[in-house]
Symmetry: C2
Subunit: 217 residues, 2 copies
Amino acid sequence: MSFMGKPLLYSYWRSSCAWRVRIALNLKEIPYEIKPISLVKAGGEQHFNEFRDVNPMEQVPALQIDGHTLVESLNIMHYLEETRPQRPLMPQDVHKRAKVREICEVIASGIQPLQNLTVLIYVGEDKKKEWAQHWINRGLRAVEKLLSSSAGKYCVGDEITLADCCLVPQVFNARRFQVDLRPFPITLRIDRELENHPAFRAAHPSCQPDCPPEVGK
Amino acid sequence: MSFMGKPLLYSYWRSSCAWRVRIALNLKEIPYEIKPISLVKAGGEQHFNEFRDVNPMEQVPALQIDGHTLVESLNIMHYLEETRPQRPLMPQDVHKRAKVREICEVIASGIQPLQNLTVLIYVGEDKKKEWAQHWINRGLRAVEKLLSSSAGKYCVGDEITLADCCLVPQVFNARRFQVDLRPFPITLRIDRELENHPAFRAAHPSCQPDCPPEVGK
């Protein structure tokens, strides 16, 4: 537990999974501290013994909260939802809840794991861009199809949900790998809708304490 | 919706994700019908236009239930939990709930997506075994570590949860790719505990209507 009992988030500025959790914490107005874990320094601090004890998957995020350490971003967000019901990020209606989880899972199981840093290192430098584009394209096609029946102003209806917390960081990753986003107009519209929302903006990689000065703005 | 209003599960005998849902349906004693989708016939029926309308990710499972079509196995299981609270598969305690979700997510986001059929086809025949073993080993190391602080008779305490629904099919996949499971004694113990449970047994690939006769027993 960190000073003053604030939750402590193990984070990396560019990690899309840590970013999801930062958005959820901000939306719920939960004050937290950040412990940066560099995924690139010295082969990756996430592989150090100290951090392996925090998260055996050797990934960010992890969140120390309420005397416990939580891992896996969707789990952390659902825990926040269950223990801090203010500003709910899940709808009440069971069918809308399912829609939110579908979009979250397509991104968290169907896209991100195939284009994260660890996998791309294993794929190799010369193939990694094509590899990432292939899986991001496949996943965003599915997300766009799901959004065509669920989206209002945001991913599911007109309230911000966990699905939006997952969508925006994934769109950022898609741009990073130069995926052509024009076939995904609903995705793009929602991303534009949210890019200047204060909770999303404060969670953006460029606003993180560990963002290299030459990248931040 | 299928005949008599029973839920209809789009399933493939060997899909570990469909298997998770079969276990959950069986544990909750929800009668259902199976619509087999062959992932291998004619390049994979999951890629056919008719099925793409069911699941834009072109994967099993999908579940038609209560007039809706649900995709993504964890989402389906949570929907069952929210709408059919009998024989709960999630603990009441928020910290135990988090443990269940952690194990589910490590398997569903951290292992299975990297060793599923679509990805292995893309990786290529000559590399696929080493690839699958690498990611399954990494993930099961993390699962074993999580289980060391959560397991009782089953993954989290002494009641069967969604984590167990995910663990058993993943252990089956590990064996299929000849992963040495001896470093994972808690995982193995829980798998042995559950292998003859009627709900798990009935959901086993070898007991599915679309299991090829030369495989089933």
